[in-house]
């Protein structure tokens, strides 16, 4: 695990707490969340973070994996988590160029650019984002 006082917090890491992949990943995500909640770690998120977390919860409620009540409670609590929300305003052509340059999805490029600009690792369980991070020389908070 990388030593860091700040991290870029991916939606997959947040969702791991509500929708655990494995017990080991759940434990990692809980540890990260506790560090963020106790202000030991500053978490940066791009604007799409909240959309992705909400979309993930909605998908899993529709699929019957979790209940609407649990998802609503989870998302409500997320509002109290101290996060530095980075809002970027770019023309669509610039988002496109960036994703092409970085050879990744546009959503990944939002997280990657934040991590590269701030020189902090990315906490993610998304294999696609992890691969893009490695190829763009961004650090990962967890090896996945």
């Amino acid at each position: 695990m990388a030593t860091a006082a700040a991290v870029v917090f991916d939606a997959s890491a947040e969702l791991e707490v509500l929708l655990p992949d494995t017990a080991a990943r759940f434990a990692l995500a809980v540890d990260l969340l506790e560090q963020i909640g106790s202000n030991k770690l500053l978490a940066h998120v791009p604007l799409i973070f909240f959309n992705e977390v909400a979309a993930g919860c909605a998908r899993e409620v529709r699929g019957g994996r979790t209940t609407q009540a649990d998802a609503k409670a989870f998302l409500g609590r997320l509002g109290a988590l101290p996060l530095s929300l980075s809002v970027e305003i770019h023309p669509a052509a610039d988002w496109f160029d960036r994703a092409i340059k970085m050879s990744c999805q546009v959503a990944h490029s939002a997280y990657l650019t934040l991590a590269l600009d701030l020189r902090v690792p990315i906490a993610t369980f998304d294999g696609g984002l992890a691969t893009a991070a490695k190829s763009n020389k961004a650090r990962l908070y967890w090896p996945i």
């Binding site: 939606a11 997959s12 969702l15 791991e16 707490v17 509500l18 929708l19 655990p20 992949d21 494995t22 017990a23 990943r25 759940f26 809980v30 969340l33 506790e34 963020i36 909640g37 106790s38 202000n39 992705e52 979309a55 993930g56 998908r59 899993e60 994996r65 979790t66 649990d70 409670a73 989870f74 609590r77 997320l78 509002g79 109290a80 988590l81 101290p82 996060l83 530095s84 929300l85 980075s86 809002v87 970027e88 305003i89 770019h90 023309p91 610039d94 160029d97 960036r98 340059k101 970085m102 959503a107 990944h108 490029s109 990657l112 590269l116 369980f125 998304d126 294999g127 696609g128 763009n136």
Partner: protein, 69 residues
């Protein structure tokens, strides 16, 4: 909610040769506040998570992968 750097033109973004550099505007907003409320929120989120089934096929990584497809 507190605006940290309102409409700062990021330095070097328009001229940097680094991959990912773009034009545009960026600002940061602090959401949530560190302290007992945040710590209680984390505990509540973790308790919610403990009630869910663990499953790779249906887990967070798979959900995000599908959403980003």
């Amino acid at each position: 909610m507190k605006v940290i750097d309102q409409f700062i033109q990021p330095k070097g973004r328009g001229t940097s040769k680094r991959a990912g550099a773009t034009r545009g505007r960026q600002f940061s907003v602090q959401v949530g506040t560190p302290g007992p409320e945040a710590e209680a929120a984390v505990r509540a989120m973790v308790e919610l998570g403990k009630r869910q089934k663990v499953g790779k096929r249906l887990g967070a990584a798979a959900v995000i992968k599908t959403e980003r497809r």
